[in-house]
Symmetry: C2
Subunit: 339 residues, 2 copies
């Protein structure tokens, strides 16, 4: 592969001049410029990004460590992150943690080794020493979706409080009184928060969230299935299950089906995170939709701001309720959306 030296030789100038042409530095003569450009063309020269990075100490690459690529929510997030990054002249390397802290650490480590300019993380846990360290020692960093409390890093996320309130209103209006939740891992902010918000919303209607109705999941489909089976085995099973993410909702659906029961008649179902497949399930699932694309874009903007020396602030965007048929037919005024 041709290097800058070859180009310099071909054009009859020094490597310094070639570099100047390529980075369009002002003081290069028109003549030199055309000769260099011609040489670049004939040699099919492409600058070696590795060498450039070594010298300039910037890779124009962002790292994105997400909890689970197979989760459509994160896939969409990853896609919007890449799009926005590309439009700002950055590439992104995605690391899939699969909800495993060790894998998360592995990815953070290799990304750091590769000297990415900044890191976007949706933490799987409370934060390993490695990540805390990176944050402290000044690696530009932004949390997206989930975050680690007490760490001084901007957070880009959505606030589901209003939407969960709308959901509870919807459920209450439908006559449901025994509501259960499949929580996410307590180590994640979203895992904890969604339960709290739900409990709070129930409180407004004088309803409780007993321990028996609080199942512990891990954001994966299988855990949703297991927890739902537990609910169904209860002497007095809940009337509604609210899954804290889309995969656990899928698992819940499995569990209900496996018993020959039906949604919403035997058990109503709602989920946090709206994905396009929810329109096509049987029945279509009522969900809380996050502005996923906007979240990804905002996160990249915040990170790039940090990288380029600007402030880079936290952003919180509201989620909204999308009512479908999985909680029963709807006749209340809280309906907000469709499709």
């Amino acid at each position: 592969m041709a290097s800058i030296k070859d180009v310099a030789a071909e054009a009859g100038v020094s490597v310094a001049t070639v570099s100047r042409v390529l980075n369009d530095h002002p003081s290069v003569s028109a003549d030199a410029r055309t000769r260099v450009l011609a040489a670049v063309e004939t040699l099919g020269y492409r600058p070696n990004a590795v060498a450039r990075s070594l010298r300039t100490d910037q890779t124009r690459t962002l790292g994105l460590v997400i909890s689970d690529v197979m989760n459509p929510y994160f896939t969409e997030l990853a896609r919007s992150v890449e799009e926005e990054a590309r439009s700002l002249g950055y590439s992104v390397i995605i690391g899939n943690a699969d909800e495993r802290p060790d894998l998360q650490d592995h990815h953070v480590r290799t990304l750091l080794d590769r000297r990415i300019d900044g890191l976007l993380v949706s933490p799987t846990d409370g934060g390993s020493p490695l990540m805390l360290d990176a944050a402290r020692t000044g690696t530009p960093m932004v949390f997206v979706d989930r975050w680690i409390p007490g760490v001084d890093v901007p957070v880009v996320r959505s606030d589901g409080r209003g939407a969960v309130r709308d959901l509870v209103a919807h459920l209450y209006g439908l006559g449901h009184r025994r509501l259960a939740i499949i929580a996410g891992p307590a180590a994640t902010t979203t895992g904890r928060e969604r339960v709290e918000v739900f409990r709070e919303a129930l409180g407004a209607y004088g309803l409780e969230l007993p321990d028996a109705y609080t199942g512990q999941g891990d954001f994966q489909a299988e855990s949703g299935r297991l927890v739902t089976e537990g609910f169904l085995d209860l002497a007095e099973p809940p009337e509604v299950v609210f899954a804290a993410d889309n995969l656990m909702a899928l698992g819940a659906l499995d569990a209900v089906r496996a018993r020959g029961l039906r949604v919403p008649d035997d058990l109503a179902l709602a989920a946090f995170d709206d994905i396009r497949w929810f329109v096509h399930t049987d029945p279509p699932i009522t969900a809380i939709a996050q502005p996923t694309g906007e979240l990804g874009r905002a996160a990249v903007r915040a990170l790039v701001d940090r990288i380029e020396g600007r402030p880079g602030e936290s952003v919180t965007l509201p989620a909204r309720l999308v009512v479908r048929r999985s909680c029963g037919e709807n006749h209340t005024p809280v309906q907000r959306s469709t499709t």
Copy 2:
């Protein structure tokens, strides 16, 4: 960030010795080794992968350019690719082409600039000069799922011939005679091939595939919807629609629903690519399942073989039919699977 020089100073040895310790070269004294390791520890030193890559001319990174990350099939492929690569000591950078040749080119270019060790591609089109060039000039490369005919690059893919035959047998057994297909882009091998294989399988039953029953899609949901509407507008609409990928099947489902019709009673539906959501749609969708994970792993192995100087061969794995309810209740002997 501490460099190898700092470590050398701290340990009281030369950088060469530090490097030797880190790459466990045999001739280093135990004493030097422990001192270096201690220094590494206290300084929290991590080797700069950028510098190392420049010197060794290898990045231990694979590039993966896929057609569409939002397609669950490719998401799963990407995941298995990353897993296998990681186990072999490589990282992977994913580029999402979104079925757009220009984006595909953009990613190939930046990956090449970053001097990735090898490239895994699922081409969106017939191949740009850039990609053809890369293949010719010796960049280790492997095609996965789709390929470009006439280019001397190993191909890892699945063969749907047998499964499509099983599908047609299943449909025929159910009494269907008017079968239509939503094809993928003619620029892709899978787009063309699936139509041919389908036509061939129909032929075995004395059935034709008229032009009117061959809709042109682009592997995206919207095109599936459009094509299906066209089919439904026909004076004599087909009894079955076979979508050449999962997203177009989703679009077809939309189209059928939008008219208040039902699957499979009014129109039966089958898809190439099985994804977990198909179990949960209404009705569950009959599909041809590729061994996606195995495909991804085999592709990585072939690529790494090439990179490390071993042959690196093409692999073809069989797909299989998974019968569900979207084509009508099944009483034929060809049923092969469940779940």
